[in-house]
């Protein structure tokens, strides 16, 4: 990275987050594997689901994240209604002593696509209750704008369905969302490999959230470090100001001063 590059802090709700790669913990095969991947990712913020305690579980995910110095972002994963999501968020606030919540309200369990009606309803209730709401939403710019209007601290449009690894299916819409947003845009869901994360940043997203692409990779630690590099590269490319796309060529070498067979013939 250029030593002259201006500081580029990533801020949500007046809080600086130390990495533009947010990690999801879902899909990890073991606590050790999770710890390795989280460390390799360089993340500062990781999502957790809220579930009934399992007396047979020895390890504590909270302790693991605290031990790594990673801030917990509870998620209302699995909720289908605003009422469920609001209760889950309130439980999470009590359990983890944080007002932040990743709000996920899904419409069906096959596509896991967000239900925008329940989502906006839940977002409004939670903002009114003092939460810092980060909603996982579809790539519809109208819904994204609505979520911002009701007071969400960021918007988190999907690239493709959760766990699908299909990358960014509608980059045009993501660009529209970025253009209109007054809050950070975090590409959340569907990232499959490093180039998808890089593209999200090049499109102007402030951060990406990755879970399955890392946790279900053959080598989660290595993929986590690839994602870290990809997010950095994409952000720098965005800040560097890319060339415009041209229909035809633009020569990078001037035609002036060229030597041709005609020009070498003496008088």
């Amino acid at each position: 990275m250029s030593a002259d590059a201006a500081p580029d802090p990533f801020v949500i709700a007046d809080t600086e987050i130390g990495s533009r790669l947010i990690m999801g913990t879902g899909g990890m095969t073991s606590p050790e594997s999770l710890a390795r991947a989280l460390t390799a990712s360089g993340t500062a913020l990781a999502t957790v689901a809220v579930r009934r305690v399992d007396p047979s579980t020895r390890h504590s995910l909270v302790d693991l994240l605290d031990g790594l110095g990673i801030r917990i972002l509870p998620n209302t994963a699995g909720c289908f209604t605003a009422a469920d999501a609001v209760l889950t968020a309130r439980l999470a606030r009590e359990a983890f002593a944080t007002d932040w919540v990743k709000l996920e309200v899904i419409g069906d369990d096959r596509t896991l696509l967000p239900d925008p009606i329940e989502l906006v309803d839940a977002a409004e209730q939670l903002v009114d209750d003092g939460f810092v709401v980060l909603p996982y939403c579809g790539d519809d710019p109208v819904v994204a704008r609505r979520l911002e209007q009701v007071g969400c601290a960021a918007v988190m449009p999907l690239g493709a369905p959760i766990g699908s690894g299909l990358g960014i299916r509608n980059p045009h819409n993501i660009q529209l969302i970025v253009e209109q947003a007054g809050v950070p845009v975090v590409l959340d869901a569907g990232i499959g490999t490093a180039s998808d994360a890089c593209l999200a940043m090049e499109l102007g997203c402030s951060a990406v959230l990755v879970a399955s692409a890392v946790t279900r990779a053959e080598d989660p630690g290595l993929m986590a470090s690839a994602m870290r590099d990809a997010v950095t590269a994409g952000r720098s490319a965005r800040r560097a100001g890319r060339i415009t796309r041209r229909f035809v060529a633009e020569a990078s070498s001037s035609f002036e001063g060229m030597v041709t067979p005609e020009s070498t013939v003496g008088p």
């Binding site: 999502t47 689901a49 579930r51 504590s60 699995g78 209760l87 009590e94 359990a95 983890f96 990743k102």
Partner: protein, 74 residues
Amino acid sequence: MTGSGAGPAQTTVNGDPYDAAPGSTAADLVARWCPSPRGVAVAVDGEVVPRSAWDTTVIAPGSSVEIVTAAAGG
């Protein structure tokens, strides 16, 4: 529910029947279910019980109690 009549309603914890001793508090249930109260939250009949009220919240018979914590996901 079996039989003949007006027995006390069944308390459940995390969806399973549990016969809480009379006067059991939320704190008692957390201590029984969780190795540590850290990262844990409790709801009784759909309402969150603040941590500060665990010791003083008695679980009425027939209550539906949920005790939750962080799990991999999201």
